[in-house]
């Protein structure tokens, strides 16, 4: 989902879709009818992972033929002289055996210890073949963070308040009414059976907790857009499973709470739309059902205060849930006040998250206001094109007919939500789940107070931009490993 698409979703949230009155409304159509649990797995189009696996295999075979490299760096040893405060590198003959050289140094009376300069490696390196495409996780040194905390556990629950989630394999029958957008008239498709599949890179035993749909008023918050599935992937994509991509806190349980409707929810006649009351109810529901962390990659139209949302967020924090919210994507649209971010900025335990691109500079769309508290990768297609986005598994955009009301009428067709791909998105929507994922790791690590989680994330953030807090990056870019490691006695 690009910025424009995100903005449109938020426009829907405010019920501000322009000129979309149904032309021929069907009489009292059934909201949606569950046809069957199809039990069919989703189709994973992927990004040619097999070819990438082959390339890795070829490199491995080449190494096997070569002599195994020494476990240390040639040409130096680390020596701690007794009159020095710390060990220092001492040059030796590059062809010399570093172990033997270290032994010679250790035999000297003025040396406290000596050792080769051993190569370090990650204890945890995910085998997901597309992990190399996830610059966002590399930029956060997540491999080193996972050495400290490998993806949390199922004891931690992260609620994703979004447009639903590809969490179930099922088919629903909808009644697609006619819709007009400006001069374009999208015809009624009548009753359509829409297949859904659980995202292969999200689903697992007991993975999903207490699903709830506040748009359709039921317990089936299926995703008719792809945004929520992408966001949930950043939080908890299955990782080290040999396929696809990775997520921040890949062992947590996910709670899909649908509080935003997409185009298809509108076309199918969802009874509710995203409003402050719906979102506030979603926040309370998540907390009451055990969420430790809540991600809200959503925005609100208008700059007015949102006391109902603020009250619900206070409810969440008071009951121990940390909340990450997107800081807003409207920098180039006048950089307006983002009311949800404003609440976050004045409430400990709720953080508003700005976005950076792969060059770690503020993404072109990311709000720059006093409400920005922290920055995380959100992608920026202006920096590196598609590879500058955040890649997670979500619906294939063609099959799912994403953004139907932006497409030509001739190409308008019913969607299906059982075909998946690895899609690059950009937005503060993508940045926020990085912080939610980090918060989940911190909860697992032992920081259980939302205010303490916020303080820790700020305390260890890597300063970017102007020294200290600034409007582009807040307190800086999150530093997961440093945050997870906390404080020693003097360091």
């Amino acid at each position: 989902m690009n910025v424009a698409s995100f903005l449109r979703v938020t426009a829907l949230a405010a019920g501000a879709l322009v000129a979309t009155a149904p032309l021929a409304s069907q009489d009292a159509p059934p909201r949606r009818l569950k046809v069957a649990d199809t039990g069919l797995p989703g189709i994973d189009l992927g990004l040619a992972p097999l070819a990438r696996l082959d390339a890795i295999g070829g490199r491995t075979r080449l190494r096997d033929r070569e002599a195994r490299p020494a476990p240390w760096v040639a040409g130096r040893v680390l020596v701690k002289f007794r009159d020095r405060g710390h060990a220092e590198a001492v040059a030796i003959d590059p062809s010399a055996d570093a172990e033997a050289a270290a032994r010679l140094y250790r035999a000297r009376g003025d040396v406290e210890f000596a050792q080769p300069d051993y190569r370090a490696h990650y204890d945890f390196h995910p085998n997901d073949p597309l992990f190399a495409n996830q610059w966002n996780l590399s930029a956060l040194s997540m491999e080193r963070a996972w050495d400290v905390n490998p993806g949390a556990t199922s004891a931690v629950i992260v609620a994703v308040l979004d447009g639903g989630l590809a969490y179930d394999t099922v088919a629903y029958q909808y009644n697609a009414r006619a819709v007009s957008v400006g001069a374009r008239r999208y015809p009624a498709l009548g009753r359509v059976t829409v297949p859904f599949a659980a995202a292969p890179e999200l689903t697992g035993p007991s993975r999903f907790v207490a699903p709830r749909d506040f748009i359709w008023d039921d317990d089936a918050p299926v995703d008719l857009d792809g945004h929520g599935t992408h966001v949930a992937g950043t939080v908890g994509q299955l990782t080290n499973n040999g396929i696809g991509v990775a997520g921040m806190a890949f062992n947590v349980r996910l709670m899909p709470v649908k509080v935003i409707g997409g185009d298809w929810d509108f076309i199918f006649g969802a009874p509710n739309e995203a409003t402050t009351s719906v979102v506030a109810a979603g926040i309370r529901y998540a907390v009451d059902n055990g969420a430790d962390v809540i991600n809200m990659s959503i925005g609100f139209e208008g700059g007015g205060p949102l006391p109902a949302i603020e009250e619900a967020l206070r409810y969440a924090v008071d009951r121990g849930a940390f909340v990450a919210v997107s800081a807003g994507n409207s920098f180039e649209d006048g950089n307006p006040v983002e009311p949800l971010a404003e609440i976050a900025a004045r409430m400990n335990g709720v953080m508003s998250v700005g976005a950076v691109g792969r060059n770690l500079d503020r993404a072109h769309y990311s709000s720059s206001r006093t409400s920005v508290e922290i920055a995380a990768p959100g992608g920026d297609f202006r920096v590196g094109g598609d590879s500058g986005g955040v890649v997670q598994q979500t619906y294939d955009p063609i099959a799912s007919a994403v953004d139907p009301l932006s497409s030509p009428v001739a190409l308008y067709h019913a969607p299906r939500y059982d075909i998946f791909g690895y899609e690059a998105y950009q937005g503060t929507s993508m940045a926020s789940p990085h912080v939610a994922g980090l918060a989940a790791l911190l909860v697992q690590q032992g920081i259980t107070s939302p205010a303490a989680i916020e303080a820790a994330i700020k305390r260890f953030a890597t300063d970017r931009g102007a020294a200290g807090r600034d409007n582009d990056y807040g307190y800086g870019l999150i530093s997961p490993r440093e945050t997870l490691r906390g404080l020693g006695l003097t360091r």
Binding site: G85, H86, V148, Q445, G446, I447, T448, S449, A451, A452, A455, A456, R459, L484, R485, G486, L487, G488, L489, T490, R491
Partner: protein, 231 residues
């Protein structure tokens, strides 16, 4: 309202009482030393309890501010002449405890489950006064089994902090006062008790939990028993 003395005050008070407890100082100085030699040498080992001044800092990391302290030392004391009663002592000790890294927010400590070992290795030199108790009898002078001592000095405290990322170590200058009593239990074998208070200004506070709690002194008090031989 009852005002409790500060930790520093309590330790200084204890040391003062130990030294003041030495009876008949003037009388004893007039008598010859118990061994009849000018210098008395002793080597000893110590075992005791170190209690850190930086209470919140140590408590956050180690879940205690106290731990075992083990050491060795050697003492030379003048038993006659102008320097009679003075001693110089060298000793080294070690305190080591393992806790875990934490995060601190508004005074609340969140343990993070990452093991962290803290060690202190003071090497100290002390100058002081040793009261070798003797008494007159009809048969001559008899040495008392009790010897009270007190003094102060300077040292260097090695500090190290070791976790999964490796070790950091530093040395800081330290100052201390001490006092105690040795009891000769059998021939040259002595058992004693000692209290020591050490200041290590600015040994803490540059970062980590100590910075969060604004505690800067790496010192503390040690109460320990000494077992040694004197000759």
């Amino acid at each position: 309202m009852i005002r409790r003395p500060s930790p520093v005050g309590r330790h200084v008070l204890a040391l003062a009482l130990l030294v003041l407890a030495a009876p008949a100082i003037a009388d004893a100085q007039a008598l010859p030393g118990p061994t009849g030699r000018t210098l008395r040498f002793a080597v000893f080992g110590t075992a005791g309890l170190f209690t850190a001044t930086a209470e919140d800092t140590f408590d956050a990391i180690l879940d205690t501010r106290s731990g075992t302290d083990l050491g060795v030392g050697a003492q030379v004391a003048w038993q006659s002449g102008a320097l009679r009663g003075l001693f110089v002592e060298f000793d080294a000790s070690r305190f080591e405890e393992t806790g875990e890294r934490v995060f601190v927010h508004e005074g609340e400590v969140f343990p993070l489950g990452i093991p962290l070992t803290v060690s202190l290795t003071p090497i100290e030199v002390t100058a002081g006064y040793r009261l070798n108790q003797v008494r007159r009898t009809r048969g001559g002078v008899v040495a008392s089994p009790f010897a009270f001592f007190g003094g102060g000095g300077v040292g260097s405290v090695g500090y190290s902090e070791t976790d999964d990322e490796g070790e950091i170590s530093e040395r800081f200058t330290a100052w201390h006062v001490m006092g105690g009593v040795d009891v000769t239990v059998w021939k040259a074998l002595q058992i004693g008790a000692e209290a020591r208070y050490r200041w290590v200004p600015d040994g803490l506070g540059a970062g980590g939990v100590s910075d969060a709690f604004n505690e800067t002194d790496l010192g503390g008090s040690t109460f320990r028993v000494r077992i040694g031989v004197g000759f």
